[in-house]
């Protein structure tokens, strides 16, 4: 009889702590990139979400599909648009002609959903998850640095700027100063320096929580984050060249801005003004770049704009002749000519008509511009939609969630720095000696970003965030007492109405 009772009382929700442990292990596996494979990431993500849903079933039932569906659906569409992109015809693409590319979107959605639902688990602490993620990235960076230093020497990026290795009968395509060693599937491969530097740049954000942690009270956490930051900085300095110096400057400014905004609690007003200025400049810059790039025969070609930018030295430097922009221009130019957007509305890759093959040109060193190749115009649209929606919720999470400030700052830092660095320097063809195309959505950091998006979305939707922010601010300005309905209160009201 007792046995029967035990059986009937069996409930998977009792395994919440085990689930948290599993999630942390998976995050460590992904962050450390020990087995850097999209197959592994996808399968593990799908298994993880099944486990999360099984254990957190009550939460899944309570939440329904409306909130998470709004988050997951665009990711799924983005994944499928990437899967059906013509890039699959390129033999160098990591999933060339493989049916598995149709499974990857479910992996992306699964990992995002796992982040969303695990946030409702009381035993899951984002501080622990961040420590695990940063430890994984630090482990990877440390190994990469040691092997790179054993093979090369400190500051080889400056001392051997014009020297080449011979490989397979030919000089290396780039000088040794533009390559480093990276752990890939249990062996160290030569990768581009910009790909190698991605991980130490992320580690620099570990300096952010130090402003909010007291050394005397949280000694271990303080030392851990300090070590991660120092490791990141040391790695970048030992492998510095003029491009990594530029990237370091950009990332340092971003980290400083995050620190200023969070440390001095510059919330709504200043944040909004800054965001609007950055957003406005970004949109204006993109439109100008897009129009200026139309060099080939195209419907959108504006010769006078091209003339204008080439005649002025500063504009020419900005829009035509610098290493970053030339890659973007090639893609934006091709988007409205080679791809024939109306004929191939979902095409991601360019057709090289001379060779009659589908080819992926050199990476533009930007995940955003690469996505025109990788996922097509509409795929890029969905990606941008996901990013804007999620970043908005990440800020709501920062402002209204009850998580510790040091964790919230680190989440923001991780997401923004990863995305900004990937925007200016992500190499989708990272391997020096063979041309394997591994787009950003197959990268371990992208998986971690969407996990954190899921987490922040749940926390944002279940925080005391005012629903009508604009109205509340207006009322506050007019001097009337501030009565704001929060998401939590709204849920309570709904529950009461239902019970009546």
């Amino acid at each position: 009889m007792r046995e029967e009772n035990k059986a009937s009382n069996f409930n998977l929700s009792q395994f919440g702590r085990v689930l948290v442990f599993v999630v942390l292990e998976v995050l460590a596996l992904f962050a450390s990139s020990i087995w850097n494979s999209i197959y592994l990431y996808t399968i593990v993500s799908i298994l993880l979400v099944v486990l999360v849903i099984a254990v957190m079933f009550q939460q899944v039932k309570k939440d329904g599909l409306s909130n998470i569906g709004f988050f997951l659906f665009p990711i799924l569409v983005y994944g499928f648009l990437s899967a059906i992109s013509y890039l699959y015809l390129d033999p160098n693409f990591a999933l060339s002609n493989s049916w598995f590319r149709f499974i990857v979107p479910f992996g992306l959605v699964g990992f995002a959903a796992a982040g969303y639902y695990i946030a409702s688990n009381q035993d899951f602490k984002i501080g622990h998850a961040l420590l695990v993620i940063y430890s994984g990235i630090a482990f990877l960076t440390f190994l990469n640095l040691i092997v790179t230093m054993v093979q090369f020497v400190p500051f080889y990026t400056i001392r051997y700027a014009n020297y080449y290795l011979y490989y397979d009968g030919s000089p290396s395509p780039v000088p040794v100063s533009e390559m480093a060693y990276f752990l890939t599937n249990f062996s160290f491969e030569e990768v581009s320096l910009s790909y190698f530097t991605f991980y130490p740049m992320i580690l620099l954000t570990a300096f952010l929580p130090l402003s909010f942690i007291s050394y005397s009270k949280q000694k271990k956490t303080f030392v851990a984050y300090l070590s991660f930051g120092i490791l990141g900085l040391l790695t970048i300095i030992l492998t510095i060249n003029k491009f990594t110096l530029l990237y370091l400057f950009v990332i340092a400014v971003v980290i400083a801005l995050i620190n200023i905004f969070t440390k001095f609690n510059l919330k709504t007003k200043w944040l909004k003004v800054t965001m609007k200025i950055i957003g406005g400049l970004a949109i204006a810059g993109f439109v100008l770049l897009l129009l200026n790039a139309q060099d080939s025969v195209s419907t959108f070609r504006l010769s006078f704009l091209r003339d204008l930018t080439t005649k002025n030295a500063l504009f020419d430097r900005l829009f035509n002749s610098n290493r970053l922009v030339s890659g973007y221009n090639a893609i934006l130019d091709g988007t409205f000519t080679n791809v024939k957007i109306l004929g191939y509305p979902i095409a991601g890759a360019y057709q090289n008509f001379g060779m009659m093959t589908w080819v992926f040109n050199d990476s533009s060193n930007s995940f955003f511009f690469d996505s025109f190749f990788v996922s097509g115009l509409f795929g890029t649209g969905f990606l941008v939609f996901v990013l804007i929606m999620c970043i908005r919720h990440v800020f709501f999470y920062y402002m209204y969630s009850t998580d510790k400030k040091e964790d919230k700052v680190l989440v923001i830092g991780f997401i923004l720095v990863s995305l900004i660095y990937s925007f200016i320097a992500f190499d989708a063809t990272p391997y020096v000696f063979y041309n394997s195309i591994v787009p950003f959505y197959m990268n371990n950091i992208f998986f971690i970003i969407i996990f954190l998006f899921g987490y922040c979305l749940f926390k944002s939707l279940n925080s005391n965030r005012p629903i009508v922010v604009k109205k509340a601010i207006k009322e506050e300005k007019e001097g009337t007492p501030l009565i704001v309905t929060t998401t939590e209160e709204k849920k309570e009201e709904k529950k009461n109405e239902e019970s009546k």
Binding site: M149, V153, P154, N162, Y164, Y166, D168, G169
Partner: protein, 281 residues
């Protein structure tokens, strides 16, 4: 804090130990040994430890016998073990169906460390280049070269080398048009087998080749495919090799050599070296 500082300080020796620069021991300022001046293209690097002219080492010498050592000088020779199974001419076709000899037995396929360094030209599977792919050849004079391998040879069956010869095919950057003729050489292949971590035993093989096609330029397709059986010799733990030759006789130098100042220089253009079925550890 002091304890923490000590732990952090422990990391610094690791960084001091790094910076060995193993990968930088052989770096070049771009494409090398590919000048328009013929005389600048000779590869003459002798690894110090393997230079038996200067370093004393235990050695044994073997003069190869055509029949006893199954020496072959062309892919159609009956002693060439794989001449019926592989396509000898189709070295650039990476299609798996063709069973290209070069691509199948390239040393870089069996041991990835052969992919690194200037001499990787000899291990990339490209057996020919009729002047179009100058990158794929190592030009040597009689003094030859010697190089170490990253790993030690464990199993092996036979040795093969694809090469052709030439005289100053470009003199001062201008094609000389020296007519195709014959030369005869004594080819010397040395294997350096490890006795202990720093000393080697040299195993020398020599073979006189009476007719080596000596071309008017590098842009011809007449090659010598030389090889011999290694199974009865002990070259296990081989961790280095050298290739050199002695020019015994050159028809053109003998008949017209006196007309040239400075004198004509003979060379071998090496394209691919094989140790089919070898394993390395």
């Amino acid at each position: 804090m002091k304890k923490v500082n000590k732990k952090i300080l422990l990391l610094f020796p690791i960084f001091i130990l790094t910076g060995c620069g193993y990968g930088l021991k052989e770096v070049y300022p771009g494409n090398v040994y590919n000048s328009v001046d013929y005389n600048l293209n000779f590869y003459k690097e002798w690894n110090k430890d393997l230079n038996y002219h200067e370093v004393e080492m235990e050695s044994e010498s073997h003069v190869l016998d055509k029949d006893a050592d199954k020496v072959f000088l062309s892919p159609n020779d009956a002693y060439f073990p794989d001449h019926n199974d592989y396509d000898y001419a189709d070295d650039l076709d990476f299609n798996d169906d063709t069973r290209s000899y070069g691509q199948t037995f390239a040393l870089s396929k069996s041991e990835s460390s052969f992919k690194y360094g200037y001499l990787s030209k000899l291990f990339d599977g490209q057996m020919f280049c009729h002047g179009r792919y100058e990158l794929a050849r190592v030009q040597i004079g009689e003094s030859g070269f010697a190089a170490k391998t990253s790993k030690e040879l464990k199993e092996y069956s036979y040795f093969a080398l694809n090469f052709k010869a030439s005289l100053d095919y470009r003199r001062d950057g201008v094609s000389t048009g020296i007519p195709a003729h014959n030369s005869s050489i004594i080819l010397k292949i040395n294997f350096y087998c490890k006795v202990n971590s720093s000393t080697y035993k040299r195993v020398e093989f020599t073979y006189p080749i009476e007719h080596v096609n000596t071309n008017y330029s590098e842009a011809t397709n007449i090659y010598t495919f030389f090889g011999f059986d290694l199974e009865k010799y002990d070259i296990s733990r081989c961790a280095g090799y050298s290739i050199e030759y002695e020019l015994v006789h050159d028809e053109y130098i003998e008949s017209h050599g006196a007309e040239y100042t400075p004198s004509l220089t003979h060379c071998l253009l090496l394209y691919e070296m094989f140790l089919p079925g070898s394993t390395w550890h």
